[in-house]
C-alpha cells in the first residue's frame, strides 16, 4: 500500500519532505507549534512524549533542519495572505490533514424547489425517503428504553462499559442508538446529565481495521495522522488518568468488519473501557446475533460482556405503523395499499428500508398515472418491479438457438441425472433437438458462443470456453422455468 501511496508524491519535489514527515515521523505535533503556538496543540503535545524521537535524536535533528524551511514558510505565508496566494496541492493536503480546511461540495446554482410548490404526492414521497429519520422511531420504544437506561447509567456512574446490539439490516439499530445519544446530548446541554463526548466509527467506512484509530483520533482533535501514531496517542489518552476527563461514548457500527485474524483492533476498542482511567462506553452494532461467539476470540468475547440487545425484524403491523407515521396525516396512500406493502415485506425480510422504498416507487407510479392517491394497483405494480424475478422474461427473450441450447442443457440433465453437464453432451442434445425442430444446426464454435452469451447473463453457469468441448455447464435457472417460458409462449 505504501508503494501506491508513494507514486504521486514522488513526482512533486517540494512536497516530498513534508509529507514524509507527516506520515512517518512521531513529532508532527511539535512542528506546527513552531509556526503558531496553539493551546490545544500544546496540551496534546505535553500529553504525549514519543519515545522513538528520544532514541533517534540525530535523525530527527537532521530531518528538522531539512524540513523546517518548506514546512514553516508556507504556513506563514498562508496565514498572512491566505486569500491572495493559491495553495500548492501539498500545502492544501497539509491543511486537510491538520483539519484546517473543511471539505466542501460544489453548490447548486439555483435554489432548491420550495416546499409550498410541491404536490401532496411529492411531499409524501419526500417523507417516505429512507434518509428522513423521524425524531422518535415508532415500534422501537422498548429498545430505546433499554439503550437509554444503559447509557445514562454509564454516564452517571462515570465508569465505562460495553454493549452489543445486533439485528438484521434495516431494523432500526443505528437510528435508535443515535436517537438515544441525541436525547442524552440534549439532556446534558440542559445540565441534567454530566457532559460527555460522542465518537462514532463505521467499519465499512474504513479501508482496513486499523484505520479505526485514525478516525477516532480525528474526531477527537480533527487531525489526520498515521494509525500507529493515532494508536499510541489514544492509548495515552485512555490509559493515563487525567483529572476532569469527561465520559466518552464510542459507537462502533459494522463490528464484524473490524475483526481481522489478529483481532487487535477489536481487542483494543473493548479493552480500553476496562481501564479505570478511560471513562469509555462502547456501543457495538453488528448484524449476526452470535458474532461474539462465532468470530471473536475468547478474551475479546469476555470483554464484550453480556449486555446485549437484539432487534427483531419488523412484523407487518409494525411496518404498517412505520409507514403511516412517515405519511403523517397525508391522504396520499390508501390504507390497504400500505397494508399490502407491509405484509409482503414482512414476509420476506422485515426490512424497513425495503418497505419505504417500495412505497416511494408506488408514489412514482401513481405520479406517472397522474392520480393523486396511491391505490392497491400501484402498489402491486411496484411490488412486482422491486421483488423482481426476470428469469422467465429473459428466457422468453432469448434468440431461438439460445432457447434450443437451454432446452438441450435441461434435457441433458434429465438424461444423465447429474446437475453438471459437459458441453459435448449438450451439443449432442442440441443436434437432436435441432433436427427435431427443423432448424439448421449451429457449428460447435457458434454453439460455444451461445453458451458464453447465456453464461454472461447467468442463465447457465459455464467455464471458460478454452476447454472447448469439455467445459462444464450448470443450469442456473430451474428446468421448470425453461419449460414454463417456452411452452406458454408456444400456446399463444
Amino acid at each position: 500500500s505504501r508503494l501506491a501511496e508513494g507514486t504521486p508524491r514522488r513526482s512533486i519535489h517540494l512536497s516530498n519532505i513534508v509529507e514524509q514527515r507527516v506520515f512517518k515521523d512521531d513529532d508532527i505535533i511539535s512542528t506546527p507549534k513552531r509556526g503558531r503556538p496553539k493551546k490545544s496543540v500544546e496540551d496534546e503535545d505535553d500529553d504525549y512524549t514519543p519515545k522513538k524521537s528520544v532514541q533517534k535524536t540525530p535523525t530527527r535533528s537532521r530531518r528538522l533542519s531539512t524540513a523546517t524551511k518548506p514546512a514553516t514558510t508556507p504556513s506563514k505565508g498562508t496565514t498572512a495572505t491566505s486569500a491572495a496566494a493559491p495553495m500548492t496541492p501539498s500545502q492544501k493536503m497539509k491543511k486537510i490533514r491538520a483539519g484546517e480546511l473543511s471539505p466542501s461540495m460544489q453548490q447548486r446554482t439555483d435554489r432548491p424547489v420550495k416546499d409550498s410548490s410541491k404536490s401532496q404526492l411529492q411531499l409524501a414521497r419526500e417523507q417516505l425517503h429512507v434518509s428522513v429519520v423521524p425524531k422518535s422511531l415508532p415500534c422501537r420504544e422498548r429498545e430505546f428504553e433499554n439503550i437509554y437506561a444503559f447509557l445514562e447509567g454509564k454516564i452517571q456512574d462515570q465508569c465505562g462499559g460495553c454493549m452489543y446490539v445486533s439485528g438484521v439490516p434495516g431494523t432500526g439499530k443505528t437510528a435508535t442508538v443515535t436517537g438515544v445519544i441525541r436525547t442524552l446530548q440534549r439532556l446534558s446541554k440542559q445540565n441534567e446529565l454530566p457532559a460527555f463526548e460522542f465518537l462514532e466509527i463505521n467499519g465499512m467506512r474504513l479501508t482496513e481495521p486499523r484505520q479505526a484509530y485514525v478516525q477516532i483520533y480525528k474526531q477527537l482533535t480533527g487531525k489526520t495522522v498515521s494509525w500507529e501514531h493515532a494508536h499510541s496517542l489514544l492509548e495515552k489518552r485512555f490509559t493515563t488518568p487525567a483529572p476532569r476527563r469527561v465520559t466518552t461514548v464510542l459507537l462502533v457500527d459494522e463490528l464484524d468488519i473490524l475483526c481481522n485474524r489478529r483481532q487487535d483492533v477489536v481487542y483494543n476498542l473493548l479493552d480500553w473501557p476496562t481501564k479505570s482511567a478511560a471513562k469509555l462506553v462502547v456501543v457495538t452494532i453488528a448484524n449476526t446475533m452470535d458474532l461474539p461467539e462465532r468470530l471473536l476470540m475468547g478474551k475479546v468475547t469476555s470483554r464484550l460482556g453480556l449486555t446485549r440487545l437484539t432487534f427483531q425484524p419488523y412484523t407487518h403491523k409494525q411496518l404498517q405503523e412505520i409507514v403511516t407515521a412517515r405519511l403523517g396525516g397525508s391522504e396520499a396512500f390508501k390504507g390497504e395499499a400500505v397494508q399490502l406493502v407491509a405484509r409482503k415485506v414482512a414476509a420476506v425480510s422485515g426490512d424497513a428500508r425495503r418497505a419505504l422504498d417500495i412505497c416511494r416507487r408506488a408514489t412514482e407510479i401513481a405520479d406517472t398515472a397522474s392520480v393523486k392517491c396511491v391505490t392497491l394497483l400501484h402498489v402491486q405494480q411496484a411490488l412486482a418491479e422491486m421483488i423482481a424475478s426476470a428469469k422467465v422474461q429473459a428466457i422468453k427473450n432469448c434468440s431461438r438457438l439460445e432457447q434450443i441450447f437451454l432446452q438441450a442443457v435441461a434435457a441433458e440433465v434429465t438424461r444423465t441425472g447429474v446437475e453438471e453437464t459437459t458441453f459435448m453432451g449438450v451439443y449432442t442434445q442440441v443436434e437432436t433437438i435441432a433436427a427435431f425442430m427443423g432448424v439448421t444446426l449451429p457449428a460447435p464454435g457458434r454453439a460455444l458462443r451461445l453458451c458464453a452469451t447465456l453464461g454472461a447473463e447467468r442463465l447457465i453457469i459455464s467455464e471458460h470456453s478454452r476447454n472447448d468441448l469439455f467445459q462444464k455447464i450448470l443450469l442456473n435457472v430451474s428446468a421448470d422455468d425453461i419449460h414454463y417460458a417456452l411452452r406458454v409462449g408456444e400456446v399463444n
Binding site: 504521486p8 421483488i387 428469469k391 439448421t440
Partner: protein, 459 residues
C-alpha cells in the same frame, strides 16, 4: 460519372459511421427510458437520492440508453448546472482504490489537482465521505454511473458500494447510483447490508424485437439514407452535445456527426428504393432469419451490416441479396473445419487415428504412443506414408497440440504435465466426429488411401 461515385462514397462513409459511432440513438425501450430519465431528473431537480440497476443481456443497448437519457437531459440547463456525472467502469477501476481516485478527480474535490490525487486510500475515502456529508440539499447532485456493476461486487468488503448506497440512503448530498450489468442475478452478489441499502429498483432491458418483421425493419432503418431535414435535426442534437464537450462525457467527443452529410434527393430515393426491394426479397429474408435465430441483439446485426457495407464497391454500388447470404454463410461456417483443412496429410492422418481410438474406446484419453502405433499400422500398408520417421510424427503431434485440436488431460497446472514425458502425456480430442468427417470430405487432394482409412479403422 464521378458525381455519382462521389455520392456513393459519401453514402458508404455515412452508413459506416452511423453504425459505429452513433452512441446516443436508442430504438424502442420507451418505458424504460422514461423511467431512468425521470429518476435522474428528480435527482437533479428535487435533490432526491436514488439507486437503480440496469440489467440486460450484452448488446441490448444498456449504455446507449444511459447516453440517450443524458443527451436528453443535457439540453436542460437546470440539469447541467446542478449535477456532476461520475463515470466508473468495473473493467478499468479494478479495485476501490482506483475507483476512489477517479471519483475524486471527476468530482474535482480539493485533494485532487490536475488529475492527480493526494493522500492514501484511507484518506481519500474519509475525505470523500466528509465531502458528501458536508453537502446537504444545497449541494450539487452527483450521478454515479457504474458500468460492469458485477465487477464492483468483487471488491474487498464492497466498501465502495456500501458507502455509495449508504450516502444515497442518508441525509447527505443528493446522489444517484446507476449500476449497469448483464448479470441477471447481480443482486445476489451484494452483501446483505449493501443489499438492504440498495433501493431494489431494477430496470430490465431485453431486446424486444419479438418478431422477425421488427428485425427486418431495424435492418432497413440502419441501411437507409435519411432525408436532409431529419439529418439536420439530428445534427442539432449532436451539436448541443458538443457544447458540453469539455464535460467528462465520454461519448461526446468522437460522436457521429450527421451535419457533415447531405444527400442528393434523387440518389437517396434510388438507394432507399433499391434497398427496400432487396430486403423484401426471399433470399434476404431468409438470411435475416438465420441471423435472427442466432442472436437477436442490435449489436450483432450492426456488426453484420458493417461488413456488408464495407463490401460495397463503386462497380456494384448496391447491396444485393447474394452478398447478404454469402456473408451470412461465412458466419455459419465452422472455423475448426477450416483449420483441419489447412493441416498436412500426416497431421490429418494422426487426427483420423485419434478419431478411431476415440470411437473404439469411447473417447478415452490417448497419448502419442497409442496414436503412433495406430498410425504405423496404417503407414505400413499404405503406399504414401511408409517412410515417415517417428520424430516427424511427434512434431506433427505437437502441432496438433499447439493448435489446440487436442488438449492435455491434466489441464490447469503445468507442473504435473512436466513430469510426464511428452510421448506419454495423456490427451483428449477437442473435435466432434462430424467435424473430422467434414474436413476429410472438404480436404483438397487427399490421398484415397487416407479417405478410405477414415471410413473404417479396419485395415
Amino acid at each position: 460519372m464521378p458525381e455519382a461515385v462521389q455520392e456513393f462514397a459519401k453514402a458508404r462513409r455515412f452508413l459506416k459511421e452511423r453504425l459505429q459511432r452513433d452512441y446516443t440513438t436508442l430504438r424502442g425501450y420507451s418505458e424504460e427510458r422514461s423511467n431512468v430519465r425521470q429518476l435522474l431528473q428528480r435527482t437533479a431537480e428535487m435533490g432526491e437520492s436514488n439507486s437503480l440497476l440496469l440489467i440486460g443481456p450484452r448488446g441490448a443497448g444498456k449504455t446507449t440508453l444511459i447516453n440517450a437519457v443524458l443527451t436528453d437531459l443535457l439540453d436542460n440547463k437546470a440539469f447541467v448546472d446542478n449535477t456532476l456525472i461520475v463515470h466508473l467502469d468495473g473493467n478499468l477501476h479494478t479495485d476501490d482504490r482506483l475507483a476512489l481516485k477517479s471519483i475524486t478527480v471527476q468530482m474535482r474535490l480539493e485533494n485532487a489537482a490536475d488529475g492527480k490525487v493526494f493522500g492514501s486510500f484511507a484518506e481519500n475515502l474519509a475525505f470523500l465521505l466528509q465531502c458528501l456529508k458536508s453537502g446537504g440539499k444545497r449541494a450539487k447532485s452527483v450521478v454515479f454511473l457504474l458500468e460492469e456493476f458485477d465487477l464492483f461486487c468483487t471488491h474487498h468488503n464492497q466498501t465502495l458500494l456500501y458507502n455509495l448506497f449508504d450516502v444515497s440512503q442518508s441525509a447527505q448530498a443528493p446522489i444517484c447510483v446507476l449500476g449497469v450489468t448483464c448479470r441477471l442475478d447481480v443482486i445476489e452478489l451484494l452483501e446483505k447490508r449493501v443489499k438492504s441499502r440498495f433501493s431494489h429498483r431494477q430496470v430490465f432491458l431485453f431486446p424486444t424485437s419479438d418478431q422477425l418483421e421488427q428485425y427486418a425493419a431495424l435492418c432497413q432503418e440502419l441501411l437507409s439514407l435519411p432525408s436532409n431535414s431529419s439529418l439536420k435535426s439530428a445534427a442539432e442534437r449532436v451539436n448541443s452535445l458538443q457544447m458540453l464537450r469539455s464535460e467528462a462525457l465520454s461519448f461526446g467527443r468522437r460522436h457521429f456527426d450527421p451535419a457533415a452529410y447531405t444527400f442528393d434527393s434523387r440518389f437517396r430515393e434510388g438507394w432507399n428504393k433499391q434497398l427496400a426491394k432487396m430486403l423484401a426479397s426471399q433470399p434476404a429474408q431468409r438470411t435475416l432469419q438465420t441471423l435472427y435465430d442466432f442472436d437477436i441483439s442490435e449489436a450483432f446485426l450492426k456488426n453484420f451490416l458493417f461488413r456488408l457495407v464495407a463490401q460495397l464497391r463503386e462497380e456494384s454500388p448496391h447491396i444485393t441479396a447474394e452478398q447478404m447470404s454469402a456473408l451470412a454463410a461465412q458466419y455459419e461456417g465452422d472455423d475448426k473445419v477450416e483449420l483441419l483443412c489447412g493441416l498436412s496429410v500426416l497431421e490429418l492422418c494422426l487426427i483420423i487415428a485419434v478419431k478411431h481410438h476415440s470411437e473404439i474406446y469411447d473417447r478415452d484419453p490417448f497419448n502419442f504412443e497409442i496414436i503412433f502405433a495406430r498410425f504405423s499400422k496404417f503407414a505400413k500398408v499404405s503406399t504414401t506414408m511408409q517412410g515417415v520417421e517417428r520424430s516427424i510424427v511427434l512434431k506433427a503431434f505437437e502441432h496438433l497440440r499447439i493448435g489446440e485440436l487436442i488438449l492435455p488431460v491434466s489441464s490447469g497446472s503445468g507442473n504435473a504435465s512436466g513430469k510426464v514425458q511428452k510421448e506419454f502425456e495423456m490427451h483428449k480430442m477437442a473435435l466432434t466426429y462430424g467435424q473430422i468427417q467434414q474436413a476429410v470430405q472438404r480436404y483438397q487432394a487427399l490421398p484415397t488411401e487416407v479417405a478410405q482409412w477414415s471410413q473404417s479403422s479396419l485395415i
